[in-house]
């Protein structure tokens, strides 16, 4: 089932993949390119677990076709840490106890990093609103808010 070949940049690296036209960017990342960090919790754009940056914009990778990413730049959760050092949001999630099962974590980390890039010192309401597209079933969000506030300091 190889319909087409796409070329894109993932976490700074140029990559290519033979894909079927119906595959989502999420499937291409996870199953074709070896980036399973973005998660497949709902695959219908409701939970945010597959959040990635596409040309600098936060998107649900399940709602983007792999073919649409041809020629574009994607940053996944695997691309947030630099030189082996955790991104401050990643570190804050660990310290604040914001991780339980962790299935929502990659999407929340990407969404929180995006928020802090645009709003370095967000209000509580801004945090709540910015992360409202990311479902978490374990934590009740309290420690996720703590983590984002910690990372914003």
């Amino acid at each position: 089932m190889f319909g087409m070949r796409i070329w894109l940049r993932v976490n700074g690296e140029p990559v290519e993949a033979d894909i079927w036209e119906g595959e989502s960017l999420l499937y291409v990342l996870r199953e074709r390119l070896g980036y399973p960090g973005s998660k497949n919790a709902c695959e219908q754009g409701e939970c945010g677990s597959c959040s990635v940056m596409l040309d600098g914009k936060l998107v649900c990778a399940c709602l983007v076709l792999g073919a649409q990413a041809d020629g574009h730049e994607v940053v996944t959760v695997e691309g947030l840490s630099e030189d082996g050092r955790l991104h401050r949001v990643q570190e804050a999630f660990v310290v604040a106890g914001a991780v339980q099962c962790g299935f929502c974590t990659p999407g929340l980390v990407v969404a929180a990093a995006d928020l802090l890039q645009h709003r370095p010192d967000p209000s509580d309401d801004e945090i709540r609103e910015a992360l409202s597209g990311n479902l978490c079933r374990c934590t009740g969000y309290a420690k996720i808010f703590d983590a984002v506030r910690l990372a914003a300091r």
């Binding site: 089932m1 079927w20 119906g22 595959e23 996870r30 199953e31 980036y35 399973p36 960090g37 973005s38 998660k39 497949n40 919790a41 709902c42 695959e43 219908q44 409701e46 939970c47 677990s49 996944t76 959760v77 695997e78 947030l80 840490s81 955790l86 990643q90 570190e91 999630f93 660990v94 310290v95 106890g97 991780v99 339980q100 099962c101 962790g102 299935f103 929502c104 974590t105 990659p106 980390v109 309401d125 945090i127 709540r128 609103e129 992360l131 409202s132 597209g133 990311n134 479902l135 978490c136 079933r137 374990c138 934590t139 009740g140 969000y141 309290a142 420690k143 996720i144 808010f145």
Partner: protein, 738 residues
Amino acid sequence: MSTTAPKLELGRVGEIVPRADGIPKVTGEFAYSSDLNAAGMLWGHTLRSPHSHARITGIDLSAALAAPGVHAVLTHEDVPGEKLYGLEFQDQPVLAVDRVRYYGEPVALVAAEHPEQARRAAELIRVDYEPLAPIADAETATEQEPLHPDRPTMGHGYRDDPRPNIVRSLVIRHGDPDVEADVSVSGVYEVGIQDQAFLGPESGLCVPDGEGGVDVYVATQWLHVDRDQVAPCLGLKPEQVRIHLAGVGGAFGGREDLSMQIHGSMLALHTNRPVKIVYNREESFVGHIHRHPAKIWMEHRATRDGKLVNVRVRILLDGGAYASSSTAVTSNAASFACGPYQVDNALIESLCVYTNNPPCGAMRGFGAVQVCFAHEAQMDKLAAALDIDPIELRLLNALQSGDTMPTGQTIAGTLPVAEVIRRAAALPVPEQEELPRDPLRLPGGSGNTTRGEGVKRGVGFAVGFKNIGYSEGFDDYTAARVRLDADGSAEIHCAAAEVGQGVAGVILQVARTELGTEDVTLAPHTTATVGSAGSASASRMTWMASGAVRDACRAALEERDRNGGGAVDVERIYRHPRTSPLDPETGQTTGERSHVAYACAAMRVVAEVDVELGLTRIVWIGTAQDVGKAVNPQAVTGQIEGGAAQGLGLALMEEIQTRDGLITNASFTDYLIPTTLDMPPVVSELVEHPDPDAPYGVKGVGEPPTVVSTAAVVSALRVATGRELTRVPVRPDDIVGL
């Protein structure tokens, strides 16, 4: 032994310790069950029934077998061993034989090179169904034709109820159940079907070992009981099936029953290729059991000064098409029906029936959630009837250690009900925020187009409790194995499933405490190297794993001392105090205890309700919880916050909706769970009274917050609206009175 323990910077029982899996989880490196791959891997797909009840008159596989990329198409005829399986009773077909009993029941399997090829091939399987009238109403199920004529749950020491479609029928008679009192209040309460809605969908990878056996890498809650169900259906010996825990994306009871384990193994053994199955969200909603919907009738009789005299309860649980763990849920609902209150007289009837609705089983709270919603509504109603403060009424009747449960069991361990009530009640609630304000902080959020003219505030309160560990005589144990190397490092083997709750951290903290070293690692969780840990269920895993790892560590140190040093490798089994069955006629315990231990929680909730629009906003939650001893206080408050969120979800938004047994909202678009905009801050007080029967005094902490929060949230809504609100989830129509 040395008298001065080596100093540890971090990591003993009672300290805040970051999760060992925290960094791989934030970087995306942690391998969940849906992330696995193997060379030559095929994708499996499950064809499921579109009917809730139908006879199968024929299956034609020819078009599917001829479809591109397809390597296998299997039906019940291809099940190599036992055709039926089940967590407690073998009543569920691996693949439907001649009848389907619920919407989404597995009928056939496909393995193909690409998941889309597998899905499309499954669409080409022609199944001829002859639809049958579904039993969709639990209240009349015992008057219908039997769905399981061989009555798989009968016997087993349960009360013999001759009516058809009985999963379990339990009656508890305590004291004089006919005794009258000064005041009586009654109510009928209903609870909708809640879904665990764990984010990591059912998934796993099955790899044939080339010698007829199979390795299954899967997200589950109890590795060994999976193996004990999978092996007979594959016609294999237990050791030919090795279950390995892959990363688990949440569980909450929904992974106690099998999902893809047998199906993936059948496809892998048939094709001699690794096979991966990953459910999508819709399939996940139909592919696992749910929390039982319930209808509960309650009457509370009390003296004029508020002392409970007699509580009369009838509970009806809809078990759906297969038994799962319904018999234990039935019993739990009965045990906790009176709430954490001393009651001398009670009549409790608890009935679970088979229907063609979605199968129900374990979900966090396990029968205690449903009855807590009812008994706490009754306590508020009784307080109003007596004109007594509702918190005073609860204190007046609070159960304590040494008191007797309706089952006749004397509470042996700690149970500080009055203390959790006092401490939760003492938490200061936030002032009401002035209007107008940012619409994000109005009931309904930015969807509320008013200036808040219809907003009313209410402060509610509830208390609940639940058992810890498996009950009614079940041989409940956990094995742990410790390998000490000559260099002083240690490796711990324990099959306790890490489902996100943090038991892996508990195991490491206990091992560091006992061994006095930080150099401890936890080996992969598998059936291949250690005995059963039992289930990550019933708030039991912290207690049980702590006991097993403690005992194995101590035994390893003793053996090393005996040997005068060197490497040692020991395995130990820990059992909690023994429990006894309930008498089938009276529901009274036949020994000292039928539950091992109890944990309680009290919760105070501030709600704002727009009584004109029917919209709600939970402003604040404060809770005090009986935790025994907190192994890792940060992880404990995380459990409380998350547990409160799930109870809030059931109170306000979460319900699997069905029509004639068909699920109509199997998506996160239509089945809503709380988001960041729904959850308020949660203030948690940890009440620590070590339980004398438990290792380090620990109690499980996962379930009490879920048990109590639904009741507490609705209590606040009642205060705000003045309405009875007898059904959860509470709908806007209920608030407005439509």
